[in-house]
C-alpha cells in the first residue's frame, strides 16, 4: 500500500513537472500551431537564469522571477525575429527554430560557461517527510502545488478572455480574424511571450529538481514536451495536464514493475494513444 502511494505521489509530481515544461508548448504549439523546436532553448535559459539569480541573490523567489523575465524577453525577441516570418508554414518553422535552438544552446555556453551548474533547492524546500513508509519529498509537493496553480491561472485567462479564442481562430484564418477587428499580431505576440515565460518557469522549477542544469538539457526535454502536447490533444490545457500526469505515472510504475521497458515507456504510451485515439486524449473540443 505504502509502495503504491509512493509510486503514485512521485509519478504525480514528475507528471506535474512535465506539465510545467509542456504548458508553454501547449500555447505555442497546441494553440498557435507553431512547431517551435527552440522551446527547449527557452526552457534552458529559464533554468540557467534561475540558477544564476539564486546564486547571486540567494532568493528563490527572485530566481523564479528572473527566469520568467528572461522568458518574457526571449519570447519577445524570438517572436519578432524568428517566428513572425514563418507563421502558418510548418516546414519553415522547423528549419528556423532548429537554427535558433542551436544559437540559444550555444549562447548559454558563451554566457554561463560550458560546464553544467549545480542547482540547489532552497533550504525551506529541501529534504523530505517520512510518514510511515511513505516518503514525501518536499520539493515535489511544492511542484504539485505550483503545477495546479499555473494550470488554474492559464485556464482562467484562456476561459475568461477572448485570447484563446482569437488564437485558435487566427490559426484557422488569420485574415478573417483581423477583418473582424482583432489585432492578431499582438495576440500572437502576447501568447508566444506567455508560452516562452512558461517554458522559462518550467526550466527554473526543473533545475533544483534534478539538481543540475546544462546547455543540452533543452533538447531532451523539448521532445518530451511535444509528446505531452500531442497525446493530450492539441491546444487543450487540461489535456496537457492529464497527459503529463499520465506520462509521469507510467514512468514511475513502469520503472518499478517492468524496468526493462522504462526506456521505451514514453514512446509506447504515445504510440498507443495515437493508434487508439488519434486526436489525443482531450481534443481541443468535443
Amino acid at each position: 500500500m505504502e509502495l503504491l502511494i509512493n509510486l503514485l505521489i512521485n509519478g504525480l509530481a514528475t507528471g506535474m513537472l512535465i506539465f510545467l515544461l509542456a504548458a508553454g508548448l501547449t500555447l505555442i504549439f497546441g494553440l498557435m500551431s507553431v512547431l517551435n523546436f527552440a522551446h527547449g532553448g527557452l526552457f534552458v535559459w529559464g533554468a540557467f537564469a534561475a540558477v544564476w539569480m539564486y546564486a547571486t541573490t540567494g532568493s528563490f523567489i527572485l530566481a523564479i522571477l528572473g527566469a520568467v523575465v528572461t522568458g518574457v524577453i526571449l519570447g519577445f525577441v524570438t517572436e519578432k525575429l524568428i517566428i513572425t516570418p514563418v507563421y502558418g508554414n510548418h516546414v519553415q518553422q522547423i528549419l528556423i527554430t532548429l537554427g535558433f535552438m542551436l544559437v540559444l544552446t550555444e549562447m548559454i555556453k558563451v554566457v554561463f560557461g560550458p560546464n553544467q551548474l549545480a542547482a540547489k533547492v532552497p533550504p525551506y524546500l529541501a529534504g523530505s517527510w517520512e510518514v510511515g513508509d511513505v516518503i514525501l519529498i518536499k520539493y515535489r509537493m511544492f511542484i504539485i502545488l505550483i503545477g495546479f496553480v499555473v494550470f488554474g491561472i492559464i485556464q482562467f485567462i484562456l476561459k475568461r478572455t477572448k485570447i484563446g479564442l482569437i488564437v485558435r481562430a487566427g490559426v484557422l484564418n488569420k485574415e478573417m480574424v483581423q477583418a473582424l477587428g482583432n489585432n492578431i499580431k499582438q495576440v500572437f505576440l502576447f501568447t508566444f511571450i506567455a508560452g516562452a515565460a512558461l517554458a522559462a518557469l518550467g526550466g527554473a522549477l526543473m533545475a533544483p529538481y534534478s539538481g543540475v542544469v546544462y546547455a543540452e538539457m533543452g533538447l531532451e526535454f523539448g521532445i518530451l514536451a511535444f509528446i505531452v502536447v500531442v497525446i493530450g490533444g492539441m491546444g487543450s490545457l487540461p489535456g496537457s495536464l492529464m497527459a503529463a500526469i499520465l506520462v509521469g505515472l507510467a514512468g514511475s510504475f513502469m520503472a518499478y514493475y517492468v524496468p526493462a521497458l522504462s526506456l521505451a515507456v514514453n514512446m509506447i504510451l504515445m504510440a498507443l494513444v495515437l493508434i487508439f485515439r488519434p486526436q489525443g486524449l482531450f481534443a481541443a473540443k468535443g
Binding site: 484557422l172 478573417m176 477583418a179 477587428g181 482583432n182 492578431i184 473540443k285
Partner: protein, 235 residues
Amino acid sequence: MTDLLEMRDVHTYIGEYHILQGVNFTAPKGQVSVLLGRNGAGKTTTLKTIMGLHPSKSGSILFEGNPIEKLPTHKIAQSGLGYVPEDQGIFATLTVEENIRVAMRDQSEATAERVDYVLKLFPDLKKFWKKDGGNLSGGQKQMLSMARAFVQDSRLLLIDEPSKGLAPVVIGKVIEAIHELKKQSTIVLVEQNFRMASLVGDTFTLIDDGRTVHTGEMGYLVENEEMKRKYLGIG
C-alpha cells in the same frame, strides 16, 4: 448627400499581378451600393482592398473623410467596417457561438441586442449554437458569416455575394434585413443575383477588367437593356 467611403484611382497588386487598375468608387451614406461585374472582374479584390487585406499600391481610400489605405486590417475594421467575405471565412473548428464571439467587440447591451437580432433573423444559428462552424450546411455558413458582421456596430458593411447558397425564402429575409440595416449602416454589396441586387440596390458600380466602368442609379441599370447586355451578359 455625403459619401461615407470614397476610393480614388485605386491600384492593387496581388503578388506580381496588377489586379485593380484604377477603381473609383463611392458609397453614399445610408445607401446600398452594388458592385457588379463578371467573374474575375475584380469585385472581391475591391472589397479586400478596402479592408486592407490586399493593400492598395496607389490611390486613396477615404472612410468618413479619413484615409484608411495605410491602416492595418484590424484598425480598419475597428474604425467601423464589417466584412462578409465571399468564401464565408468560417472558423471551422470553432463553434457557432465562438465564431460569433470572435466578432463581438464588447459585452455591451447593444451588442447583446444585435446578437438577439441575428439569431432571430437566422434561427438555424441558434439551433446549432454549440456546433462546429465547419459542420454547418453551405447556406448556414453563409448565414453565420453575415451574422458575424451584423453583431458588430458597423457603419459600413461590405458584403460579398450574400445570396450565394441561400434558399429563396432566406434571400427574402436577407433583403428585408438589408433594408433594416440601412437605417444605421451603409452597405456595399457584391451580388450576382441581379434580382436581389435590383431589389436592394440604390446605386450600382460596374467593374470590368479591374476598372470601374460605370456608376449610376440602380433604377437606371434595371431599365437599360443595352448596358445590362454589355457588362452583365443578360437580356
